[in-house]
Structures are given as C-alpha cells and as structure tokens.
Symmetry: C2
Subunit: 281 residues, 2 copies
C-alpha cells in the first residue's frame, strides 16, 4: 500500500515510522509546505519521496492528514476533490465536529474517516517522531456511519497496526470528552507557566529549583500555538465550559486556604486522589 | 557514620539507599510510627534496625527527619532536646520558615540544619524509594548562619553524596520560591483532577482517553493530603498570593476565548512557551 502523509511532523512522522515497521506500506509520499521537515523526513527514512499534493494523492491508496485542525478544515475538501472511490482519506485532528461538518455534503464524504490518536507530546517536527508513540493508547474514530465500509475497515486496520485500541464516538461527544480530558490540561499548563513566569522573575531560580513535579505539570506548556489556538477555537464552547469549572475548582482551594479550613482542603485533595485509581487501574 | 532516619518513607528511604550506596554510612536506624514501613524498610535493606526515638538518636551521628512539615515542627524541638554538640540534625521539609521559627531560640539550634531536597513523586512509602532520586536536583540549605560550622559542613557533604547541588537561601525566600515553583503546581494538578472528575462522569472514558499529556499534568494530584495540607497551611500567604495570580492567568485564557481574540490567545501561549528555554537549557 502506498501512503501520502500530509504534514511530515511529530504525528505524521510517528505514524509513518510505525506503519513501515509493521510492513503495512512499501512507499510513503511526504507532502508539506515546510521544506526542512521534508528533508528531515527523507533523512530519517520517514518518507520515501517528497511530493506535491496532486502527485502524492494520485499515487496513494491512503492519504493521511496530520496538520493543525484549521488547515485540516481548509485542505480536507480539496483532498476529497482529488480522490477516487478506491482511495481513503483520514485525518488526525484533535477536534472533530468542525472538520466533519466541513465535508458533510461533499460528494466524496464516504472516502473520509475522521480519526484522532490520543497521543502527542510538547515537541514537533519529524525529528521528534517515535514509532512506538501510539502503543496502548486510544485511537478514536468518529461518525463511522458516514464512511464507506472499506474506507472504515482500512482505517481500523491502521489503528491496530499503530498498536492502538479503537474507540467509536460521534464527533460531538468526542469534542466534549477531549475538552474535559485533553484540552483543559493544556490551558492549565499554559496558565501555570505564565503564573510562574509572572511571579518568579529570576529565571535562574526557576531552572535551579524546578523539580520533576513542576516539570511534569508544566510540560504541555511547551506546545506550540500554531497547533493549539485552532483547537481551542474549534472547540470553544466545550473548552469554556470546562475552563469555568476549573476556575471554580481553584476557587475552592483558595477559599479553603483563606478561611483556614484545612479539613475541607484535605477533602479537596482526597477527592483529587481518586484520579490515581482511574489512571493506574 | 551512624544515621537515624525519622520517617522511613519515600524521601527518607531514598536518602538511606543513596547514602548506603555511597558508603557514607555503615548503619541506619529507622524510626517510624508506621510499623509496616519499618518492616518494609528492613526487608528492602533501607534500614538496618528499627529503633525508638531515644535509642536511635543516642546512637547516631546524624538524625534526618523526613516526615510531613507539621510533625517536623512538633518533633524537631524534642529531637534537639536529645542531641549533644557532636550530633547533627537535618530535616527535609518543603516549607522552612515555620520550622526554623519553631527552634529559633532552642539551646541546641546550632546543631540543626534546615534542608529541602527539590525532589518528590506522587508516591509514598519505602517501597517507592529510589537511590537515584535526587541526582542533578537542587538541595536547598536555609539559614546556614544559624547552624554550627561542623553541622553545616556535614549536611553539605550529604547533599553532595546525594548527587545534588546545594543552594543557599534564607527560609523566607525559600518559602516564596517554592510556593511559585512547587506548591502551586500541586494545587493546579489537584484542581485539574477535580475538574475532570466533576465534568467527566464516565470514569471509563477518562481511563480510555487519557493521553500521556493528561497523565503528566494530573500526576501530582495523586499526592497525599497528609503531606500537602500541612505544606499549604505553613505556606498559606505565599500560596494564596500565587494562587490568585494563577486564577487571573486562567481568566485571561477565558477572556481571550469568550471574546474570540485568537491573536491574544496565541500571545498567551507563546509567552507560556518560554518555559521551554528555561527548563531545557
């Protein structure tokens, strides 16, 4: 199977490495506006050839979009314009409603499968790509009833080849759940970084005192705005909903401290501790 | 050198393992109210003998308190009551002002060195102890002018034996910086866990969709209230100060989203990205 990867970055690169390792594909075309990423992709044996959009698509059985969600919305209809009923298109966007909405009435809608791998890091570019990235994580497929059977089956095969377990959801539910579980973590982490940068004017002190705990909590704050502004924009209502809840949860800690109600503070912490059972089960 | 470790848990256990590995000590007494931790400490070769407070201290050159900051405040004066001018006492508490204040006028004050290793995990108990925990991290020594020269020199030797680099601060500054860099991360993480638990009622969905990013941001939320309520209590003013800033930083994200000011949202994120240069330098 020949594959075009549109966006030879962290996600596209990691998918390419894994699918090559699994023997799923014998040839990968890399399509990217960033010529450095294309060269790096060739050097790292992530892609076999750089291509323009038309040539890459023409020669591929599967086209994978691994670009920010705003450019996914713009580019996906153009990609679908170019495919036949023997080709399949999938994306990797972290939001899904806006993207599926964009192509709802496209004559080639059924060739597209909406996908979101629940993995990412704060890094970007093909040099950060890792074949084992996705192992054990969830691969969400949305609105599968809108995809042709063979297109869906192919993407499901890709999900298993990535060592992910597929989860099926409608796009609207996906965006609610990811706002709760993924998008809010990023805002928390960005706001924490800004808090520390505002309060702690001595960068050297941050560097010296930063423990593994701080580094862990603030890790996502390294994630780039090019990827995340479009996600927050496309998932605005759900993100605002959970952000309001988060501010109200922080206010509970504030109130417990101000009132010196340490019993309540302990209850808030004990409640938070429940996340251990859920994550470590 | 013989050492008493008061509190055979994550921190005390990790210190013991490392100091044994480095050949700094030939015998460690374990003192703990938790008899299970003492047995585990013996089994894991973290301690050589369990002891009561009086016997342990009597036979030790160095006494290390590795217990929550509230019990450190209570126990430290009693420990100092029992030591001679040939013995040294250090603690590992995450707050320092309240503790040094407690023994400011103690006749044996100079035998005590206020210490805080900038390392911890969300786990506890001797089974979580790791010899290499502290490598490369900062070991903060506070108010060193209040300690006898030989006591200070011994603790500095311990800091180097733990492969930490010593930093010297007064206790008041320590508590401000740790509020900014360590304590707020914990509140952020607790509040994030509570937010997700409140919004996402399907625990199975949290488990299934949790990516490495979410797990990283919420990791500290697994930390126990027995350790953290006393820290927040003793560092109340500084924690409230930085918590107010954090809530105001989150409000900026909220406002940018509500007003659909995506340029400003991008600026907030770009500013947060600066943490990468500081942490990865």
């Amino acid at each position: 199977m020949k594959i075009s990867i549109i966006g030879v970055g962290l996600i596209g690169g990691s998918i390419a490495l894994k699918l090559k390792q699994k023997g799923i594909t014998e040839y990968i075309y890399g399509i990217d506006n960033n010529s450095i990423h294309l060269e790096e992709g060739l050097d790292l044996n992530i892609i076999d050839e750089k291509a323009n959009l038309e040539d890459g698509i023409k020669n591929s059985d599967l086209i994978i979009l691994a670009i920010p969600v705003d450019t996914t919305r713009t580019l996906l209809p153009k990609v679908l314009d170019l495919v036949s009923d023997n080709q399949t298109v999938m994306d990797c966007g972290s939001t899904k409603s806006g993207i599926v909405e964009m192509v709802r009435n496209h004559p080639k809608r059924s060739r597209y499968v909406a996908f979101h791998p629940m993995w990412g890091t704060e890094n970007n570019g093909p040099k950060s790509a890792i074949a084992e990235s996705f192992s054990g994580k969830a691969g969400v497929i949305c609105n599968k009833e809108e995809s042709a059977k063979d297109a869906f089956t192919l993407v499901e095969k890709i999900v298993y080849a990535l060592d992910m377990h597929p989860i099926y959801m409608n796009a609207k539910d996906h965006d609610i759940h990811t706002a709760y579980i993924s998008h809010i973590s990023h805002i928390t982490s960005y706001a924490l970084a800004n808090t520390v940068l505002e309060k702690e004017r001595e960068e050297e002190t941050i560097f010296q005192l930063a423990s593994s705990g701080f580094s862990s909590t603030v890790r996502l704050a390294k994630s780039h705005p090019e990827m995340w502004v479009p996600i927050f924009k496309q998932n605005k209502e759900n993100v605002l909903d959970v952000l309001n809840e988060h501010i109200s949860q922080l206010r509970k800690f504030k109130s417990a401290l101000e009132k010196e109600n340490y019993e309540y503070l302990g209850e808030l912490i004990s409640n938070a501790n429940k996340i251990r059972e859920i994550l470590d089960k």
